[in-house]
Symmetry: C2
Subunit: 319 residues, 2 copies
């Protein structure tokens, strides 16, 4: 029995009904002309707290027992998952703690605290975030909800692709960014049930292509602190659950350069009027740069929009 | 018989079906908390060519006779209407010319030419754009489609409010930015038929409050080249058609400061993940700044997203 099935994604969709936004699907003829295909952008940047992560976090927290809820939840995250856990905890009345690196974007730290979580910072050069969370959990009885390697998180993330396919119908390709592989594997499982002929493509930065290498060689690769602007993909590797799911359900991988990522963020600003964070623009970037020969009906998960004003201003003022 | 009726708006909606985007309505609990009301943002920044103007332009061009189409269309515009005419002309196979001030935003000039219009620039300190268009029209037989003071344009713009009310139901308030009053009067006519108890509020910059003054005094006021960042509202006054329609259908006016406009653009970037141009953010700004005591269910027309990268970068880097 696989750890996550299409039925789990469908069940997560029921949990999320009325709690998550059913985000809009945006189309643009300018984009279609540039890509040479019919492109459907699933706008998870317009999701609650600005990213798809709300789906997995809420699904996971909603399935805790009463005693688990009473003790509270802890997680470690580069940002969006932290906000998602914080917001879900507030909605469900569950205490939440977030272990976050000192150098996480200011907007993400502020938003996490704003949603009501207790933020515990650490120096990423000195400490291991996972070990720190585990030690706190052991001491206080918290439940750990990791950012991607968890069945309920994966199933929740998959609802983004399920909604997209329900709204627009069958797809030839679905482009999904890949950090730890929770969104990618969840969406690939959703597509396997809802649009079985759709090829699901994982997209990574060239300089953070650990999942690409893991997929191509069928051996887990790890890259620590890659120098990419797409901070959501700085996770060192796929997880114990997500790696085999990616191998089973994903058709292929593509990579994009840092310049191509920034160009996609700028294209989204200028032509789509959408604020997309660099990690969230990976799929769009792969489509715009013809990273693979995409044709026909191409879905893209725009995963989030939580970009600092300073970073956006810099992208907009660079030529 | 009034020049524009609710039936005209309904007829325009039929013309626009399948041609204009049915733009999404975005909601945000953070926004609701800040405003103290339930807010529904009709995202015309996600409309084709990035603004509501496509609605009126397409409606007007689609109603031309064959001989009018063969001769071509001319207009004068600060930007978004120009792009809308250009795009509608390309879709309908009509030659288009646009008289545009030399100092119009670069993004708007480039996009207008990119959509296939011939751009004729003039020095706004020396020439009158309307007179220039009229002289060219007289010489070549072009039909003039002005940016707001035209029944088919007004009816087309009203479809934005019609769609919003059809999607979310009755509203207590509808906030609409006001330049020449085409969008405002069209939306007010739409609301009068679709949600008769809704109070439609026009919103202007404090420094470009000609329509506010005209409404309050029932005498047409004119303000030339007001120093506002909201370039879409630099029109000197309401029009011959729009002024009486505004007096009849609009419930009240509100004004916002330049800082409040920029704060709304920044709020949309940070919290809504939407790119909104300053003129397009007027309604949102009025809601966020409690310009009037809005309560209950509040609709806001987010009219456009065509803001230069340099202007957005400046807004994002100012404190």
């Amino acid at each position: 029995m696989p750890p996550v099935t299409f039925a789990d994604v469908q069940s997560a969709a029921e949990r999320l009904a009325g709690q998550a936004h059913r985000t809009p699907v945006v189309t643009s003829r300018t984009l279609d002309e540039r890509v040479g295909a019919q492109v459907f952008l699933k706008c998870e940047n317009l999701q609650r707290m600005g990213a798809f992560k709300f789906r997995g976090a809420y699904n996971a927290l909603s399935r805790l027992s009463d005693s688990e809820r009473a003790r509270g939840v802890i997680t470690y995250s580069s940002g969006n998952h932290a906000q998602a856990i914080a917001l879900s905890g507030r909605m469900l009345g569950v205490k939440t703690l977030v272990v976050m690196p000192e150098n996480a974007p200011a907007s993400k730290r502020a938003a996490t605290a704003g949603y009501g979580a207790e933020v515990i910072t650490y120096n990423p050069a000195e400490s291991d975030r996972k070990a720190l969370a585990e030690s706190l959990a052991a001491e206080h009885g918290y439940t750990i909800i990791p950012p991607y390697d968890h069945p309920h998180v994966i199933a929740g993330q998959g609802t983004a692709a399920l909604e997209l396919i329900q709204e627009v119908g069958a797809l030839d390709y679905l482009l999904v960014c890949c950090g730890g592989g929770g969104l990618l594997s969840g969406c690939a499982i959703a597509a396997s049930g809802a649009a079985p002929t759709c090829k699901v493509i994982g997209v990574e930065p060239e300089v953070a292509n650990d999942a690409y290498l893991s997929f191509k060689t069928k051996t887990l690769h790890t890259i620590h602190n890659p120098p990419t602007i797409a901070d959501g993909t700085r996770t060192p590797s796929l997880g114990e659950l997500t790696f085999p799911l990616v191998l089973e359900y994903v058709a292929d991988f593509a990579t994009v350069s840092e310049d191509q990522i920034k160009a996609a963020v700028r294209f989204a600003f200028e032509r789509l009027k959408l604020v997309i964070e660099p990690s969230g623009a990976l799929g769009l970037s792969a489509a715009l740069s013809h990273a693979l020969p995409f044709t026909g009906r191409v879905g893209v998960i725009v995963s989030g929009g939580n970009i600092d004003a300073a970073t956006m201003a810099q992208i907009l003022t660079e030529t």
